[in-house]
Symmetry: C2
Subunit: 147 residues, 2 copies
DNA sequence: GTAAATGCAAAGTTTTTGCCGCACA
DNA sequence: TGTGCGGCAAAAACTTTGCATTTAC
């Protein structure tokens, strides 16, 4: 799916407004980083964003991209697709179940709550042959919310 | 939730059987790694598993743990909780939507398929205050399945 | 006996941190 | 004119690879 120029401009305008509300400075680097992310639905990594910006903004630092994306995410301007990107986490329990991760301490727990249901899907979505799916809830665990 | 010794032994027995069926050698290291994962629902990282085993198996190598977990995962003996652990991936689209990732090439696409629905949940699961959730489908994209 | 698995060392990736200079409210 | 931001370098954290040795079958 393509995102057209007008949509991007709208998003950038909102980004500037929200940044000012949040007390974040709007710099050329930040605008470039936001725009790079707004113009694609490919969910790029930090490195990909950096490389794209380098073409027209050769002095930008990779560190800035890392720090800026983290700042944006912390303030809700963007979201991280893979909350648990820090390290691989494994599970020997192969029965279908869901997970909940604490956004503070990164602890993961299994969910067996019966209110959590997923509607049956067929094994074809868009151009993909689906081999599985997982539901990941984000939350704050009781010990972190106590703090 | 606790996993009792009998459950663990059953899992280890099945692990040995499946390994043999798959032509995988059952070594003391592999058994230790599997057991370490079977006895917890904490979804440990490679490092955590390594540290726990080190206590009673001081010679084990971190490399072995990495390689073994990858082998187990490839053969379906265990699963990886966070498919996209390689690098952080970002999204400027804040409207609720789901994702599908190609298990081969790691490409991510948005899902707007109306057959994908999630039943409404309240904002409390177990001890967590839920702030959001995401559904991640695993699949094989058309260009990868062509190969 | 042989192919597969392990351990060690080294290298490759991804991410974070410290420090200093710069710039915009 | 001070606080936040950016750039550079270094370090930290996580993961993979090459090679010689050992082991399970």
């Amino acid at each position: 799916m393509e995102i057209n120029n007008q949509q991007i401009e709208t998003m950038v305008t909102e980004f500037v407004t929200k940044s000012k509300e949040l007390g974040l400075k709007v710099t050329p680097q930040r605008t470039a980083i936001y725009k790079e992310l707004a113009k694609t639905d490919q969910h790029p990594s930090t490195e990909m964003i950096y490389k794209n910006i380098k073409d027209y903004f050769p002095n930008i630092s990779l560190t800035t991209v890392y720090r800026t994306l983290e700042t944006f995410e912390k303030h809700g301007l963007i979201s991280v697709v893979n909350q648990l990107y820090n390290a691989a986490r494994y599970d020997a329990n192969l029965t279908p179940h869901h997970h909940i991760v604490c956004v503070e301490c990164k602890k993961i727990e299994d969910i067996y709550d019966s209110s959590v249901n997923y509607t049956k899907i067929d094994n074809k979505i868009q151009d993909y042959e689906v081999v599985g799916y997982s539901v990941l809830f984000n939350g704050i665990c009781s010990s972190c919310s106590d703090k």
